[in-house]
């Protein structure tokens, strides 16, 4: 396979990462959260703000934290004072897309060292963020039905179960695994030792989606530091290279999507794999953080990324392949289901986790195998974008 489908000037390394606690309601302001993650990332890389040439910031809808032009509100806290500063926003896909935007800042040769920060504070909006989500739908076609965001997931989940004859018990295993993995994550909000029965007995919200199938609403922030090869060699003996990036959008009309298979991710994955020279993702990806706001989405996304054949992800999960000591560990961090889901921050947390896994700095979360190549992925916009980053040591 041709190795490159995008022309770029510089190889890009991740050299530091930072993360705040993920919690339902944080007292810290959006700015204070972003600063904490940014500072941690700089410290971990051994850099100061003076070393940073540009800042990329990501967060999801302004209507969550109730500050319009929220990205601009955050400039000082994210380290962007008097620097070239960019905010990116692609809904739930933002966290990983922030890393992609940081990547092209450096890959293009425009900047040498870039600080990438993602933050979300979902708690200010009352009664609940669901009221904001309602307004992503078509205002004349869908909204008059009183449509709720979970409807989309319920339709997808039901369609996925029907098409591949998947049992709810097998999907529930994802929630059990991720919440257990998160017990070893110091930032985790909803880590727990639960059983499949706990999931199956939890309240049904919109069938087949039940309470324990869903990640929580959260506040939190994450950050990474990127630089070009020349600086990476100066700063660290253990850079983690971003070898491939990809993103792709499916149709905005949710009636027109293949609900059983995430095509948006198939194409985003293909782009990233081509760049990274990966022919067989199932064999060449050692560890992956795939987007898991719902348990079935981990399975969906594994298949979209060709980490499993269509309908095969539940089988791999049942056989323990996706456990930390398995052949293909998926979401060793605990994912959104266990660590929490401050939207943009959750996506960048996944990039940070792969960074720590590949550097073997994940502590109790470290996967058993010796990982060389890892993948982080998120999903968002109007449930139609896939964002992918492939990293290698």
């Amino acid at each position: 396979m041709a190795r490159m489908n995008i022309n770029f000037k510089n190889r890009v390394a991740v050299i530091g990462a930072g993360l705040t606690l993920f919690r339902r309601r944080m007292y810290e302001t959006s700015r204070e959260l972003a600063w904490e993650a940014a500072k941690q990332a700089l410290d971990s890389a051994g850099l100061t703000l003076n070393d940073i040439d540009a800042v990329v910031f990501g967060s999801a809808p302004d209507a969550f934290d109730g500050i319009h032009m929220q990205g601009e509100h955050m400039t000082d806290a994210a380290g962007g004072y008097m620097k070239p500063y960019t905010r990116v926003y692609v809904g739930g896909g933002t966290g990983v897309f922030t890393a992609i935007a940081g990547w092209w800042h450096v890959a293009s040769g425009l900047f040498d060292r870039v600080l990438v920060v993602a933050e979300e504070k979902m708690s200010p909006v009352r009664p609940h963020p669901q009221f904001v989500f309602h307004h992503i739908f078509d205002p004349v076609m869908d909204k008059p039905l009183g449509v709720n965001l979970i409807w989309i997931f319920a339709l997808e989940m039901a369609r996925y179960m029907y098409k591949y004859n998947i049992k709810k018990e097998d999907i529930a295993l994802v929630s059990v695994k991720n919440k257990r993995n998160a017990l070893d994550h110091p930032a985790a909000q909803v880590a727990a030792e639960i059983t499949v029965d706990d999931v199956l007995n939890s309240e049904t919200l919109v069938w087949p989606v039940q309470r324990l199938d869903i990640s929580p609403v959260s506040d939190g922030a994450a950050a990474i530091v990127l630089c070009n090869e020349e600086y990476a060699k100066q700063y660290t003996d253990t850079p983690v290279w971003i070898e491939g990036v990809g993103w792709s959008l499916d149709t905005t009309y949710w009636t027109n999507r293949d609900l059983a298979f995430p095509k948006y991710l198939y194409y985003a994955g293909k782009m990233a794999y081509k760049m990274a020279g990966i022919d067989n993702p199932r064999k060449e990806i050692d560890v992956a953080e795939v987007y898991d706001p719902f348990d079935y989405k981990e399975l969906h996304h594994m298949e979209g990324l060709q980490l499993a054949r269509k309908g095969e992800a539940p089988i791999l999960t049942r056989e323990g392949v996706t456990q930390r000591d398995g052949d293909l560990p998926i979401n060793p961090s605990g994912g959104l289901l266990g660590v929490g889901n401050p939207i943009a921050a959750a996506g960048l947390m996944k990039v940070a986790e792969i960074f720590w896994q590949l550097r073997k700095e994940a502590g109790k979360r470290q996967v058993a195998k010796d990982p060389v190549t890892g993948l982080a992925q998120a999903w968002g916009d109007l449930m139609q974008i896939g964002t992918v980053v492939i990293m290698r040591v």
Partner: protein, 154 residues
Amino acid sequence: MSVWDVFNGKTRFLEDNMNVDKFVYTLGHGYEKFFNGLKEGKIIASKCSECGVTYLPPRIYCEECLSEITEFVEIKQNGVVLGYTIQNVDKDGRHLKEKVIWALIGFNGVRGGIFHKLVGVEPEEIYVGMPVKPVFREERKGSINDIQYFTKTV
């Protein structure tokens, strides 16, 4: 088709609003110190021990170096007018019976300032650099309105 055709019955439209009841904004650790200070009739800033920059309102991090700021200091309340404007109409476009003077107040050695009302000064006599001071309310509850207004220093 013009939107006015809507009223001629030529097309239909739907109305909706963002059904958000409210937003609950936390003060955070920096602003909390500021508002607690106002309650006590004080103006509190924060000072970066690395760069020496003093921030008003106080932040828990330095925008110059991103260091954590843990030092909170009470500043002298004598300020100066850095800029001002005179409000003639309210946000609905209605003329005000009494004009309102709004000023950005700066303090010596401090980065930032306070934007507030200026009272007891005639528009003709204001100038940039004019010394002013805050007048606090008797009853204070930790709000920017604990300062009733700024007025000229006699």
